[in-house]
Every structure is written in structure tokens, then in C-alpha cells.
Symmetry: D5
Subunit: 156 residues, 10 copies
């Protein structure tokens, strides 16, 4: 649409996500299998492939090889992302349930963290998470485990 001057086009995280999703579908891989190929957890792998986390250099190289991405994709995967999410109240029921849990149990999480640790918070940066399926005769259950470093408020 620009005609009298050239605006360069840089590969974006969205572009690379599209390349990964396309390669994943063609190869018939699951996120667990991709995670295994680069020796990382499935939660982190999906999140980083979606552009919500940055790859360390070796993991970027491993993914480029495993999914046959163009070489330029590696440096894009390594860039720190700008994390943007769409809505303050998510509409998808699967994501909304987690949002509801934070609404209902947020003050409880706060009270118990303060009771066990003192005045501070759980870091969402020095943080990891897993999702597992727990068999149960009354219906299998989703188990989500989060672990974050405790950070104490400073007084100065």
C-alpha cells in the first residue's frame, strides 16, 4: 500500500507462532512431544511458542531444528516478548474458570501466603507450572501445580 518508499518487514513472534502451528499440524505432533524434543516442560513450551515467553538460545536452536523453521526464526524466539492478553474478563469457559478461581480464592491465597511467609507475595516471574491428568473413578481430574519464589516486601 506504500508506493514511494520502502518500509522493511521484520519477522514477528506472531509469524513464528504461525510457522510452528503449521508444522505441528503437518507433523501431527502434540505439545508434549514438542516439549520433549527440546527437553523443556509442556507448559513453558506452549507458552513460549505462543510468544508469551522468550527462548534461551540453545532451546531456540533446538526448536528451529525440530520443527524445520527458517533460520531467522531463532533470534525472534529469543526476543523478550511484550505480553498482551485480550480482556480483563476472559470469555472462553476454560480460561474463565481459572479467572473465577482467582476472584473467589484470591484473598484466601493472600491470607495463607502471609500466614506461612509473612508480608509478601508469590513471584509470577521466578515461576513454573505443570498440568497433569489424575485418573479418578468419579471422573478424571485436572491437576495444576504452580510454584513461585516467595518475595518479601522491603522496608526502608
Amino acid at each position: 500500500m506504500k508506493d514511494s518508499f520502502e518500509v522493511p518487514v521484520m519477522m514477528t513472534k506472531e509469524d513464528v507462532t504461525m510457522m510452528i502451528l503449521s508444522a505441528k499440524k503437518q507433523a501431527g505432533l502434540t505439545w508434549e512431544e514438542i516439549a520433549e524434543k527440546i527437553d523443556m516442560s509442556p507448559v513453558w513450551t506452549h507458552s513460549a511458542c505462543m510468544g508469551m515467553n522468550a527462548f534461551p538460545a540453545d532451546k531456540a536452536a533446538a526448536l528451529v531444528t525440530a520443527m524445520a523453521l527458517p533460520q531467522e526464526a531463532a533470534s525472534v524466539l529469543e526476543e523478550p516478548p511484550t505480553k498482551v492478553w485480550e480482556q480483563s474478563v476472559p470469555t472462553d469457559p476454560c480460561i474463565y474458570r481459572f479467572y473465577e478461581i482467582v476472584g473467589v480464592y484470591g484473598p484466601t491465597l493472600k491470607a495463607l501466603i502471609e500466614e506461612k511467609f509473612g508480608n509478601g507475595i508469590m513471584s509470577a516471574i521466578d515461576f513454573d507450572m505443570t498440568v497433569t491428568r489424575v485418573p479418578n473413578p468419579k471422573g478424571d481430574r485436572v491437576k495444576v501445580e504452580m510454584s513461585g519464589k516467595y518475595l518479601s516486601y522491603n522496608s526502608w
Copy 2:
């Protein structure tokens, strides 16, 4: 402020929460200790004392005894609560971090639940949660474990 007619005053969940908090402070109890007294988990106990969950009749009776609440409080504790939370974006840093996790990792939780279970969600109703302190030489960590029943979407 009403002078010509009488509006009855009913004990509310907020009133009972105030009674519990006052008794807790006076007795110097922690939420863990209160939970132990009624043989329930600390997460559920705090949440129900805050008025965000309903007590089964025997647990309501146990709490009334343990905290020396007025007898009328038992029926109030058993009422199903109307769960209200204040803001779509929480301001308290400790609660905000959990909200941020849902924003950043929500689509990842969804993708992995679907990969492991099929088209469905984790229930936030048939649900339980624990908070524990995990010692760590680089700084102790907060561990949050959630477990919810998997619910499959209907086709009809």
C-alpha cells in the same frame, strides 16, 4: 433512620466474618489452627469463613463451638453465598500476580487440558486447592496445587 415502621435486622455472612476475625485475633489462632479444629483444609476454611463458601451443617456447628460464636451464626454459615469480588483487575500485588498468571498462561492451560482430555474444561465447582511452603536454598517457594474435575462439552 426508619421511624414509623420496623425493618427486621438479619445476621449476615459479613457479620459472622467479623465475629470470627475478632475471636481469631483474641485467641491468637492461625487459619491452619482453625482449620484443624474443624478438620477441614486451611484454603477451604478461610474461604468459607470469609463468606465465599457454604459450611456443611456439622462443620458449621464445629466452628460455632470452636470460636464461641452465637448459636444463630450456624445457619448463616450454612447459607449458599452470593460470591462477589470487587474488581476485574485486582490491585493488591499478591492477588494481582495470580491474575497475571491466568492472563499469561490461560491459553496454555486451555491447550494442555484439551490435549490431555479432549474438548472440555476443569471445573471450578468440584474443585479443591492447597497452599504449601517449599524450603529452597535460593529462597523458599510458594506451592499452589489446584485440582478440579474434568467436564466434557456436550454434543446433542
Copy 3:
């Protein structure tokens, strides 16, 4: 607009919805007739064709045949959707009236579910719905029937 690298294009649920709508118009079919062809209800069929529900594999295959869609569309129909809706307050009068009903009668639905079942909710996941026209001399009526599994809150 990308010139120095290739971003793959994947068929989306929106693309398939467009294909269905176009085929439906050309064939002059109603949603009831399409639903009959794949032996499902009209409510579910419309919702899934709009990309708001996932097709079981056999139903996806049936729709692809019935509407002469490209073969690739079947796997797209089977993907779990990310359910997104536009506004917290819908503007279309036909949809707004249902939103108004939830606003006006929401606390009533809650009170009666609790009275009949205990402390819990009606599932919106293990859920089905029908719409029928009821003849009436004072003007025909729209009848909407919803049925969802009762889910009881956990205490733990």
C-alpha cells in the same frame, strides 16, 4: 505484505463458517434441515457451525459430505474452539432480551436451584438447549428449554 519469508496460512474456523454459510445459501437450506442431515439438534448444529462448539469426528465427516466442504475442513471442525463473544452488553435486541432475563432473574434462578439442589450450580458445559415455536391465539410464543447437569460445590 510479507516479502522475504513465507508465513503459512492455516484454515480457520472462520473460514469454514464462511464456507458453510455460502453452501447453505446456495442450497437454500435451513439450520433445521442441516441439523437433520447430520442427526444433531438445530441449536448445537448452528452453534458448532458458527465455531462455538467442536464437532465429534463422525459429525464433522457428515457435515463435510452434506455441505460439500473441502476435506481439510473436517479437522478444523473438530478443533476445540476458543469461545469469544463481542461485548459485555449485547446490542442486538434479540440477544439483549436474553441478557436482560439473566440480569432480572439471575438471583431467582440461583435461589431456586439452591432450594431444590443445595449449594451448587447448573453446568454450562454438560448442557443442552432447544428452541421451539408454540402456537398461541394471542400471538405465538418462543419456548427455550435449557438443561444442565447440577454440580455441587466441594468442601475439603
Copy 4:
């Protein structure tokens, strides 16, 4: 707080709701039983007692008698209410699920109403609703039935 002049205090719908709730608790009645006493449906009875619908004069009189309310309450029950609800996105999980259904299935309801009736809507004014418990070996189900008059858009 006013000292040099008198501001009259009028009985409000909130006052009467408080009187009903208090009488209901003391008498140990359910909403179904109250509805029976005034020969109306439980949905309408609860909604009108909450101040979200107006009582016809005979029903107001019946309720005043049945619940031993002060005589002045009858005229308050008959007043057309100003319907106010708190939030565009409800937080209580039981009400939220209905809101979610409108979000997910709103366009489907619209499409099927238009297919069956033409260009128009279901009235939320000339409207009634029931809630029933349907036994089911896999877990009982909540059944909600709505019926509203079809209104056709005018062309002029």
C-alpha cells in the same frame, strides 16, 4: 443527621424484602411453599419478593396475610419496580453460567428464532419461566424453561 427540617421516610421495596426474608426464616418456609400460599409460580414469587416485579393487588394482599407483613407493605409490593442489577459481568458462579450461555448461544438463539418466526425477538416482558429438578442416574439436571411472546419488527 438532618436537624432543622424533617425529611419523611417512606417504606421501600428493600424494606419489604427484608421483612419477607425475616418472616420466611422464622417460619422455615421455602420459596415453593410461599408461592403455593399465594397461588403463583416460584420463579415469579421469588423475583417479585426480591423487588424485581410488581404484585397485582390481590396477590399483594395474599402475601401480606401469609407472611404477616405490616398493612402498608401491600402498596409497596404493587409499585412498578425500577429494575437494577449490579454488574455487566456477574461474579457469582451460579449466575455467571447463565450469562455465559447467553454469550455462547446468543447468536444461535437469534438465528433459530428468525428461522422459525421471521424478523423479530422473544419478549422479555410478556414472559414466564420455570425451574425444575430432573432426576438422572448420571447426576440430576437443572431444567430451565422460558416462554416469551414473539414480537415482529415493524416496517412503516
Copy 5:
């Protein structure tokens, strides 16, 4: 932008609106003149041409002829629209003034409708409206007349 598969393009109400506006400008017609050609009111004609109301079949045919639109446009004009408007608070001063009137006089309209009719509303569906210019020595006036069917709330 799609290269390996074909997504069909369907004529939309927006497309037809563009065709009408272009033909209107070329022919130098006013909305009053267009309304006259199809024997409908100017308010309804403009609204339906903007895609906010559906044409009866004969009126769609008349407009296609009068404005020399492509034949396919007729079925598009007949489709029930999804009414979407942009903002809760309109910015255009001409539209804002009407929004202000509803804000300032809304409770008054409600009180007088209830006084004259009972507990109910004016329908916005079985509804019509006119705009006229009223000469006045102190400055001409805009006269807007709305008429909607009274709908009484149901008790059941």
C-alpha cells in the same frame, strides 16, 4: 491472503449499503425521495438501508429497481440484521443529544408510562418514528414522534 484453499465471499449488508450510498449520490436523491419511491417512511427507509432493519420482500425488490442495484442485493436486504452500535456514550453531538434526553428524562418516561398504562414498557420492536421540521419564528424546531406498543409485564 489465503493461497491453498478458497474462502467464498458473500455479499454483506455493508456492501449493499455502499451500493445504495453511491447510487444515491450519483442520482442526487434525498432519503425522502428514496422513501417515496418504495412507499415507506424516511426513518424506516434510512434505517433499513443502513442495515439496521430488514426489508419485506416487495420493498427489497422495489429498492433494487429504484436504485439499480445488482439482483443479489435483494436477498441481502431481506436478511434480519444483527444490530450493532459502536459506543455506550455516542460522541457525535447530534446523536449525543438524544442519548442525553434518555439519561435526563428516562425515569420520567418510565413514571408516566406506568401512570397511564400500569406496570409495563413501550415496545422498541413494534415501533415507528417520524422526524419533521416545524417552522417557528424564534428558530425552526425538530419534531420527533415515536409510537410503540404498550407491553404489560406478565405475572405467572
Copy 6:
């Protein structure tokens, strides 16, 4: 609640509205009858009694006499009000329908005003309105007539 100094209490428009409503109920008057007593229209009378318009001095005096208000109320009725309304999207169905009309027909009102008058707006200040009941065999209709001075945009 103030103990060491005195904060004066001034009669507010809300106080006077309460006095009027109480006197109106006791006397069993309608808004039409009150309007007649002060020789103004019912729309303006209700709106000004609700505190959304200012009374001319003679009309304030007339109302004070007609409703037996305290003398101080007259000057309060004459004060220019600060017009505040509650929500951008009204929840009461009777008021919402008018809001919906502005949303759906706002651009149409604008187009026709511009066609009949030129580039300008209808004043909401130099403005009046009436509500009447129009008998109709298919159901009586609400008629709302608005008239506002045309204001032309300035060029300078």
C-alpha cells in the same frame, strides 16, 4: 459523627423530592394531577420534582402551596440542578428500550435532521416532550413527542 465542630446541614433537592413523594402518596395524587395544579406539563413536572430541572420562582411557590411543603423548599426547587444519571447502559427495561432506540435509530435521526435542516443538531436544552396513550384495537400504544430547537453549527 462530627463532635468538635458543627457542619451545617442544607436542604437538598433529594430531600425535597422525598417530601414531594411522601405528600403525593398521602394525598393519592398522580403526576398529571400535580402538573395540573401548577399549570405545567406532566413530563416537565415529574422531571423537575425528581430534581432534574429547575423551577421558575412562581412555579416553585405554587408547588410548595399545592403539596404543603416547608417554605425553605421553594428556593431549593429553584436551584439549577446538577444532572447526574446512573449508568451508561440503563438496566430498567422501560428505560433501556429508549436507550436502544437511540442506538438503533441515532444515525437515522442525524441523517434526516441534516437532510431537512443542514449541518446541525436538535437542542436538548430548548426542548420539550409529551407522553400520551393512544387507544388501538391491537393493543394501546405509547406516543412520545419531542420538540427541540434546531441549532446550526457555526463556521468562523
Copy 7:
């Protein structure tokens, strides 16, 4: 992107704004100089060139000549604009400061207008404005002068 039918393209106010900005840059003109060429004020000229006000026919012709715009642009400049602005709280610091002034001094402007004129407002339609630079040894000052017709509220 449309292939089987033709959607006409009409010149918009945005298109004409682009033409003016491009011609202005190429000719190295200021808004003051453009305003002079068409013998109007700089405030109105900029606002109308941005598409926020309509040109009288002679001024549209003058601008088309002065800036060498295509002939079709004249009729577009004459169209009454739909005034849309982006955000309720402007982010640009230069515009925000004016928004802040309205927030801080709005009630003061209202009180003084009412004190000097009675119950009414300053029109924003029959309105004009100038911006001038006032030399000052402590730092030059921006002077903004607004003038709008006083409009008195109607009583009827």
C-alpha cells in the same frame, strides 16, 4: 478481496484529509496560512480539514483551488461529519491538559454560567474559538478563547 460483485468506492473525509496533509507538507504551508487563503479562522480551518466540521460550499471551493485538490473533494468537504473521538480519557499530554481543566473546573464553569445567566448552558454548536501566543517574560503563554451562545433550559 470481493470477486464476484463490485462494491463502489466513495471518497471519504479521511481520504480528503490525507490529500490536504500531503499538499500542505509539499507546499510547506502552516494552518494559519491555509486559513488565510480561504479567509476563515485557523481553529475552524484545521478542525474542518481534519473532518470534524463541514465546509460551506464557497469555502470548500476555495480550499479545493488553494490546495489543488480533485474536484470531487469539494462535495465531501461539505458533508456534515459524524464526529468521533477516540478515548474518554485522552492520552496525549497536550490534549489531556484540556481534559483535566474540564474535570477540575467543570463545576466552576457551571456555577458561574448559572450565576451570570440563569439555568442553562453554553452551546458547543453555535460556538467559536481562537488560540493565540501571548509573550511573557516568565515564559510565553497559550491563550484559548471560547465563545458560545447561552441556551436557557425550557420549562413547559
Copy 8:
């Protein structure tokens, strides 16, 4: 409502505003007359009396004398206020019109300030304003004059 401990009550700016308004009404003074008594402008005087600006010590003393306020009020008048205003979109028509002017003419003010001064803004802090009534045979006009120091953006 506090019974076992004493919470001190401090005089607030709201309290002093109430005292001023009450004294003003009793004395039958206008804002212009009050401003004259303390030798300041009416705009600033009203704004500072409303608690939106801080009084210099001598002006606070002058007002306390002029309006016979309690001595303690002087120090309250001198406190820097926390400026809070109610809504992003004001509902009162008189204030809304100014908000509309900022929306419509904001980019124009910005463009002309930049053209006359360079890259910077008009200060809303080092700022003053007047309101005057300008007689006009076609209807008197409100004149608002703002003057603020030009602040240039820093480069560093």
C-alpha cells in the same frame, strides 16, 4: 459505631465547603461578591471554595473573616487538595458541552499550539481562566478565556 476506642474526627475540605455554601446562602451572596471580598477572581474563588484548589494563607484568613467560618477552617483551606472528579464522561449538560469541545477540538488545539510554539503543551497548573457574559442581539454569549504557560518538551 466504634465503641471500644476513639477515632479522631478531622475537619475536611468537604466540611468547609458545606460551611461556605451555608453562609453564602444565608448572606445571599454571589460568587462574584465573595471573590471581591478576598480580592481574587471568581473562577479561582469558586474552585478553591469547592476544595479543588489551595488557598494562600492570607486569602484563607480573609475568607474565614468574610464568611465567619470557624478559625480551624483556615488551615483546611490551605491544604493542597487531592483533586477527584466523578466520571470520565460528565452527565451534566453544562459540563458535558466543555468535554465535547475537548473531544472535537482537542487535536486542533494541539496542532495550533505546536504550530505557534513548537513541541510542547499548555500548562494546566500555571494556569488561569475567566468567564464573562457578552451581550449579543441574537442572544448573549458565554466567553471563556484560558491562559496557561507554554511548556516545551525536554530532550536529554
Copy 9:
């Protein structure tokens, strides 16, 4: 307002803030002087006195002594606060300017932190801040210095 049962009243952080403000005014102390008395920084001292940070036990005791607060206040000062702030866009000009800085320079802070440290953030928990006055012949300047621990994103 409760008559048939007793709801205990607990001293809140708001109560203690009121006690501090009252004592501060009576003693004519500045925040700097209070901070000195308890040997902490003025920023932290003000923030903790306002209830936005928790006091270590020894500092709470020191403040109780220094300001002659009731003994019970000490434990309230030690409680971890729930941090709540009023608006997403602050209206007070002094606070708004900082909000504007985050809006304008937020992406710059992010880019430079990432350039200097890698993929991570500055902690707002392990954090301190000072405000100082820097003399300057062109007008004194406010200097704000923030220091927060760098936290690196986890990969797992």
C-alpha cells in the same frame, strides 16, 4: 443499627491512619520528622502510615510511642495490608503526571531493562524509593529515585 446480636468492632488500618493524621496535625510534624523519629525513610513511612505497607514490629512500637497512639494500634500497623487504589486513571494532577510517565516511557523502561539485564523485570516488592528537592536556577526540580531487584523470567 444491629439490635438483637452484637457484631464486634475491630480497629482498622483506616482508623489508625486517622489517629496518625490527627496527632501529626496537632504536633505540627512533617512526614520527614516522623520518619526520622522511627529511623525509616519518608517515602516508606508515609506509605505505611497510609496503610499501604506493613510495619515491622519494632517500627510499629516506635511509631506508637512517638505519636502517642493507643497500644492496640501496634498490631494493626503490623498487619499485611490489602493494597487498593481508586482508579485506573488517577485524576489528581500530581499523581496523574507519574501515570503519564509510565504510559509514555513504559516501553522504553522495558526495552532498556531487557538490554541491560536480559528477559525479566524490576521488582515492585523488593523495592525502595526516595524523593528529593534539587535546587536549580531555572526552577527547582523534583528528583525521584526508584531501585528494585532485577527478577529474571524462569524457563523450565
Copy 10:
């Protein structure tokens, strides 16, 4: 998409930002190195390259040379920007933490500025900022230093 007339394309600040980012990546430069090349601070340089500040003419020329941008880019870099930022509550954790600091410490910054300077604010226009890395054995720290001119409120 325009066919019958030509809309000119002007180089925008977004275009120039893209050119800079592309040149920066190809040359492997950091923001610190680019800042050094034009002899400005890294904070200002990044911000101005992102289009959030205007370049003085000599700095624009220097950047065009240093990064080999097209000549036309210089005048674009000199244009005063319209500063727009995306959301009132930023989602990226690195930026959010600064927003949180303003929320938590905003009133403290205000109180201390007023204590040290009087009634006024810190300018965000006559303003500069630096970011530095401070080595620390417990983990390096981010230091942010802001300096803005104090502006005193006017009384008039």
C-alpha cells in the same frame, strides 16, 4: 482498494520506527550504542525512536546518517508526536510493575512533593529519566532516576 481517485501516502512515525528497528537488528546495535552515536541519553533516544518524542533537527539528521535512513525520515522524526498508549492497565509484567508503583506510592509522592515544595506537581514535560544497573551481591538492581521541574499551582 481505491480505484477512481488517488489518496497520497505519507511516511508516518510508525514507518520510520520500522526502518530504525530493521537497521538496528541488521547492524547488531544496542539502544545505548545508538544513543551514543547521536549524543543523547538512551531513555530519550529509545522513546523518540518509538515515536513518543520529537527529534530536534540536528539530532534527526544525525540519526538519519547513523542508521542510513531515507532522507524524508528526518522531517518525520521532527514532527511532534501524538502520544497514544494502549491500555489503562498495562498487561506486560515489566510495565505493569511501574503502574503498580504509581498506584501504591502515588499519594506518597504527592504528599512528599507538597511537603518539600508546596502546592504543585512534578512536570512530566520538562522531564528526564535514566535507567542504570546497580551490581548487588544479593542480585543486581534496576535503578530508575526521574527528574522533573516543580510547577506551582497558580492563584489568580
